[in-house]
Amino acid sequence: MLSQPLTILSALAVVLTIATLAGAVIGLEQNLKERIRSWWWIIGVLGSAILLGRTAVIALFAGISFIVLREFLALTQLETSDRRAIVTTLVLVLPFQYALVGIGQANWLTFLVVPVLIAFSGDTRNYLARTAELLSGQWICIYCISCVPALFGRNQQSGPMIFLILVTQASDVLQYTFGKVAGRHKIAPSISPSKTVEGFIGAILSATALGAGLYWLTPFKAPQAGVLAFIIALAGFLGGLVMSAIKRDRGVKDWSQLIPGHGGMLDRVDSLCFSAPLFLFLTRALFSAPPPLAH
């Protein structure tokens, strides 16, 4: 009997092999082929980290946080007087947060650092806007993303984390697929031209079904897992919408071009930013463990 991560990884390898073969045989468009090739990399890296254990997963997500924050801050209007705050966020706050995740004591008290540093820069022009930009980056890219490895139990139980990542990403892919195949009505035309009502409904429903089917990864029964998957998919959709609004405002389509076919790292994890904290909270609340983000 395979372990949980190995079962999931083998299943994903089968799905990707089919997608790759289908791409070669029926000649999918270039962007789709690139997307599939990138998925091999994503699953390879993430899978290896999970098999290596909890520390490797925490280190991997610290790296993802770093890249995502790099992309996020590049689109802000922070200027040279904010450099000290930016460097501190990336070099001190970020590792500190993941160290706290490592010892199972994650909180968000480091959010107090940025306003102080920006005040100390002596430059008070647009103080509130600059602080808000840097803090938004810190919340989205550090606190929210660190909720993913925080799900990895200290008993090396990776099931719930795999459940979250799988349902979130599957709902993203399904939203894209349903949108491509059946998309007619734009759901938020002023924010994102690619999101459709059909994609949204199709993705939410099939992600709920997928989650119910994957209940064995979690401590829940199938109906409970289905409800949680529904919430994850909904939160993921909203996360994507929020990030699209930021990109729209700044006049870019993707955060960067780090992942061929997908765009930037933040384009890949934007939905996780919203689904992870919510799922972490619900999991702990339902298990009457101490709530997350509190000491």
């Binding site: 790099r70 590049a74 450099r83 930016i86 460097v87």
Partner: protein, 233 residues
Amino acid sequence: MTITPAMPYLGTLGLRKESIRTRILRTAVAGSLIGVARIVTGAEARWVGCAPSAATRIYVANHTSHADFVLLWAALPPSLRARTVPVAAAEYWNSNAIRRYLANQVFRSVLIERDRVDRRHNPLASMLHALDDGNSLIVFPESTRGPGKTLLPFKCGIYHLANARPDIEIIPVWIDNLYRVLPRGAILPAPLQCSATFGEPTRLAAGEDKQEFLARLHRTVEQLGSPSCSVSR
């Protein structure tokens, strides 16, 4: 008119004699600089107007930071790096031993004297020498680091270069965001995503005079940096 090189140009890698130790050190230094550039900036290359090519080219880029060349280098495919060298200011890069080592050994820069008063030799000669050796050049025609978002006026050296070698493709390049990573006077870089956008190749047009050419090139580089260009990528 015979023109004498301003500085002895050190020549391409293959032609150069160096001990194994020097070579290992040089490769390690170059590799770490590129590694740091990738970690700090992502060193993203956007080939919007042309594809990477082994042909000899002149890259014309905006200048905002001392790290400009390293970012461009990191953004180029590895196979092109060994044959792409920057044109840089001699008085800055010769001012201490570390800079001298980086400029001469690692980047193999074509060092030119910026200041016309002190100039004893024609800087064009060293650039032509490097081009004729099969190197692509990276030129910053603003000649000094600009404020970041806007371009300073171009100096005329690039015109003379284009005039002397009219067949070589000139690639406009816009380096985005690096001025926030390592602005003037900063020592520690602040990690932010940066990119180099490579535009459509251009050449000196027949009958185009110096002012027209410089103004056109200036506009081309500027347009690469305008937001509409990054959206349609």
